[in-house]
Symmetry: C2
Subunit: 237 residues, 2 copies
């Protein structure tokens, strides 16, 4: 399986792309990830304003900049697959913007948790989906999800805040639950509206797919990882 994937990667257009449905689904997925990174960039740059110190502002600015630097390779791939990147991103503008509007952080700590929990959840989901894709696309997606280890910064700041004032833990735990709820609600909306993505997960003649039981397991893995991330922050989920 790995070897087939690697030999596919060596050709210009992997065999899987002979299926136009597959091509459309990959373009959709790359468009979603690319716009997701652009909106994450905007939100992190915005939240950097809430930073209590210049060092904190710099750390969040760096996270924003890393997100943005992932956009170009994704856009280049969409274009290489014969689609217009702006058109490919367009369907995802509204759901991502809606998510960010509904989860605008009211404090520096809420912003940090959103960056950590939200990006972690998105990365988990895209990694799950990437497992069903050709090796080229999979590698591109995995690379675009690298966060350069800035998660450690968020964990340190949130844990310290709870040490300083244990009462903040309860409100922040609720905040984490709300983030998860809004993310699932938007993801559900996207899945319902974009048949191509649903078809991608369902598989094809020569591609494995997920039945409902497997989808349920995937959902369990996502929520388990969310719970782990909240625990890492010192928060109940």
């Amino acid at each position: 399986m790995t070897e087939i994937g690697e030999s596919e990667a060596a050709t210009d257009v992997p065999v899987a792309f002979q299926d136009p449905g597959y091509r459309a689904a990959v373009v959709d997925l790359l468009g979603a990830i690319a716009y997701g990174e652009i909106s994450a960039f905007e939100r992190l740059a915005e939240d950097a304003k809430l930073a209590p110190t210049l060092a904190d502002k710099l750390a969040l600015g760096k996270m924003a900049s890393i997100q943005f630097n992932h956009v170009e390779p994704l856009i280049a791939r969409i274009a290489a697959l014969g689609s217009e990147p702006m058109v490919a991103m367009e369907p995802f503008v509204e759901p991502f913007d809606a998510f960010h509007t509904k989860t605008a952080p009211s404090s520096w700590l809420e912003g940090l948790i959103k960056a950590f929990v939200g990006d972690g959840l998105a990365a988990d989901f895209y990694r799950e989906v990437a497992a069903f894709l050709d090796a080229d696309t999979r590698d591109l997606i995995i690379t675009s999800l690298a966060d350069a280890g800035h998660a450690g910064f968020v964990v340190d700041r949130v844990r310290q805040a709870i040490v300083d004032d244990p009462r903040v833990g309860g409100a922040l735990a609720l905040w984490g639950r709300r983030l998860m709820g809004e993310a699932l609600s938007q993801a559900q909306r996207v899945a319902a509206e974009r048949d191509s993505l649903a078809a991608l997960l369902a598989g094809g003649v020569d591609r494995p797919g997920l039945d409902l039981v497997a989808l349920g397991r995937m959902f369990n893995r996502l929520t388990e990882n969310h719970t782990h991330r909240m625990a890492e922050l010192g928060l109940a989920s």
Copy 2:
């Protein structure tokens, strides 16, 4: 002269840094540039929200990200010179933030012009000052001012807007004049408060400096370049 500069660059600490006043001035200057890039990043990311299309948003996001990517080498150099980067940037937070508050663009076009005119003016000024510095510092500053050719994007957008509706030209010309005025007023404030930067321009025993006549000429060059930039946009200055 160039050869002396290059041999200095090969050693760990150029001769010029034996003068503690020079070292302090360079740290000040690097701190100013670094915070200037951070605040430019924040402002561009903010102005990207005004973008009429996703492609425009992406172009402005890219400009923001490039600015941010310049910050790390500047900060690393400040640390290598034995100073704390956050402390070095601190004196410049208020003047830069004041500039951005006083010149918050009310439209997409105003934001574009601000990016183009403001960054151009800052880059001109730092380049003028860099001419008086050791080769290492000079190279670092020149590199950190590279804009990767995004100016063309701004020029295209503004000229097209004037073609579409020639009446916008008058208001945008006034906007350019206001930007120049605010920039000079903040620069003047910084120069008055930071003796080290004034001393840097005045020169030292083994370093050339500027007398009042030369300062006047430098000021003329800055305003001439501003006029050229406005003309490039199709605007009177």
